[in-house]
């Protein structure tokens, strides 16, 4: 009892709000001789929508694999709300929701069955799971498709189901790896708006990895990853200013050319 109080006392509201949802410090990783990530450091706070911008092969997938602990990082640190992923994987993973680049839904199972499988992986079942599923599929506007097989859904609808699935266990950090690949403009916009709204309304921290420069929001935060190294990070206007560019595309070109020169 006293211990609980002591814990509560030590973490003041101010301290809690500044605690990073995701803190990556000095992260390096290599596959044999090929260095995939080089001394990468950044932090994302609750309520922040951060775009991780990089071309294919920049190291985005490696970064995602390390944050979701597909395999361990060797140099540096990854903390999710203060939990180092290697030391407290369970606490860290419980707070992360992930949408992978490739669809991981079971096409032969219904939307509801897919979602309840995911709930069970987080130890959620029964009425609690059913209520959460109802809430999430209503939010993505697919409540009437609950019993339909995923195979019958369009690409955009499947992506929405994956976002619903990633949110079932109420994570505080949402990671999306190229979530809009292969979608039409309307579906892309819906996803972006939906996730930005989650960010605003629920204080969710979001890391949105993409190679599409136009997905960078003018008011958002951006991380520019190129050949395994972070070339720039911060609010979009500041990044553009530092690169002496008037658009994000020009800034990206300037940054990556500097690097190549």
């Amino acid at each position: 009892m006293n211990d609980d109080r002591a814990k509560e006392g030590s973490g003041t509201d101010a301290a809690r709000s500044t605690e990073a949802a995701l803190a990556v410090e000095g992260l390096s990783h290599s596959f044999g001789a090929r260095q995939a990530l080089r001394d990468v450091s950044f932090a994302i706070h609750p309520g922040e929508f951060t775009v991780l911008l990089g071309l294919n092969g920049a190291g985005k997938a490696t970064l995602f694999s390390l944050i979701t602990r597909l395999y361990d990082h060797r140099g540096g640190a990854i903390r999710v709300f203060g939990n180092e992923i290697k030391e407290n994987p369970s606490e860290a993973l419980a707070r992360i929701g992930v949408v992978f680049q490739q669809s991981t839904l079971d096409l032969d199972l219904s939307v509801g069955q897919n979602l309840s499988y995911h709930a069970s992986l987080h130890g959620i079942a029964g009425r609690d799971a059913a209520a959460r599923i109802t809430r999430e599929i209503e939010r993505i506007g697919l409540a009437e498709r609950r019993r339909d097989k995923v195979r019958e859904l369009s690409g955009g609808q499947r992506r929405r189901v994956e976002i619903a699935r990633a949110l079932l266990h109420r994570p505080q950090l949402l990671l999306l790896d190229e979530a809009t690949v292969g979608l039409d403009i309307a579906s892309r916009q819906f996803l972006l708006d939906h996730v930005r709204q989650l960010c605003r309304d629920e204080g969710l921290a979001v890391l949105w990895a993409t190679h599409l420069i136009d997905e960078v929001d003018a008011e958002g935060t951006v991380l520019v990853l190129h050949r395994g190294a972070l070339l720039a990070q911060g609010p979009v206007p500041a990044v553009m200013q530092a690169a002496r560019a008037s658009t994000m595309r020009a800034a990206f070109d300037a940054l990556t050319q500097e690097r190549a020169a």
Binding site: K60, P89, E91, Q102, G123
Partner: protein, 267 residues
């Protein structure tokens, strides 16, 4: 994580495997047709070519169909073990495996749950096969249907663990044809599934030793004896030991710190 959450996770994984199985009718039918083709065509063709002398656990001369039935059950479990684990890898660079592994529950528990779910499906397939085979005079004593259950569970676990191990370790096997050629066919043919080992010994001593070393031989023998209410001690020991080794290596293979998975390039 509380014990109830472990239970819910296991139940969810088993339910998903069951639903997938029911929804993929093609997979269910293929899993049954394969051994039935062997039974109805191959065994009938060889009925008069191969005579099987009286060897334990049989007490009389048995027709060739009866001899190969346990081998065909083993075949069902071999295919199932490879399919349920490797299918995850083929889901385009481990899609559903990654979903499984972002669960906050310990990885060894997730892999073991996945293994158990696959075994439940393979045991059901084996019983459906036995029910159909009854009409082709493969009629073990009634209690044999009960005593075979632990053997089916043990051999299913062992072959499923082998599938898990392969899924963690091997990236060259790009498709199921590779697994057929390099794992399933050699294991199936270099075993006691199709011919008794004393006949193999007469033909080739080195093949006989290979068959003896093949854990699939012992899975088949375990099932063969169990169908007649008998325990084949050495085979049971080999199956259980292989299970432990394969599972330990699979868990090692999926270990984020040391495992082979870390050497996979995911981009």
């Amino acid at each position: 994580m509380r014990p109830i959450q472990y239970y819910r996770c296991l139940a969810g994984i088993v339910r998903r495997e069951g639903l997938r199985f029911l929804n993929q009718r093609g997979r269910f039918i293929a899993a049954l047709v394969r051994p039935l083709v062997w039974l109805l065509i191959f065994a009938t063709g060889f009925h008069f070519v191969l005579g099987v002398s009286i060897i334990p656990p049989y007490e009389t001369y048995v027709p060739y169909e009866v001899y190969i039935a346990p081998g065909l059950i083993g075949m069902i479990q071999l295919f199932n073990g490879m399919q349920s684990s490797l299918s995850m890898v083929y889901d385009r660079e481990m899609g559903s495996m990654r979903t499984l592994m972002v669960s906050p529950l310990p990885r060894w528990f997730l892999l073991t749950s996945k293994l158990l779910a696959g075994v439940i499906v393979s045991v059901i397939q084996a019983y459906v096969f036995l029910a159909i085979a009854y009409f082709w005079e493969i009629q073990p004593p009634w209690w044999g249907y009960l005593t075979v259950l632990p053997a089916l569970v043990a051999s299913g676990l062992m072959l499923g663990a082998l599938g898990l191990l392969l899924s963690s370790a091997i990236r060259q096997l790009e498709n199921f044809a590779g697994v057929m050629n390099f794992v399933i066919f050699p294991m199936f043919f270099a075993s006691s599934a199709l011919y008794p080992l004393w006949r193999v010994q007469e033909a080739s001593l080195s093949l006989y030793y290979i068959c003896q070393l093949n854990p699939f031989t012992h899975a088949v023998e375990l099932i063969r004896f169990a169908l007649y209410g008998e325990v084949n001690g050495p085979s049971a020991a080999v199956v259980l030991l292989s299970l432990l080794v394969f599972m330990a290596l699979a868990i090692y293979g999926y270990d984020p710190a040391r495992g082979l998975i870390a050497r996979r390039v995911t981009e």
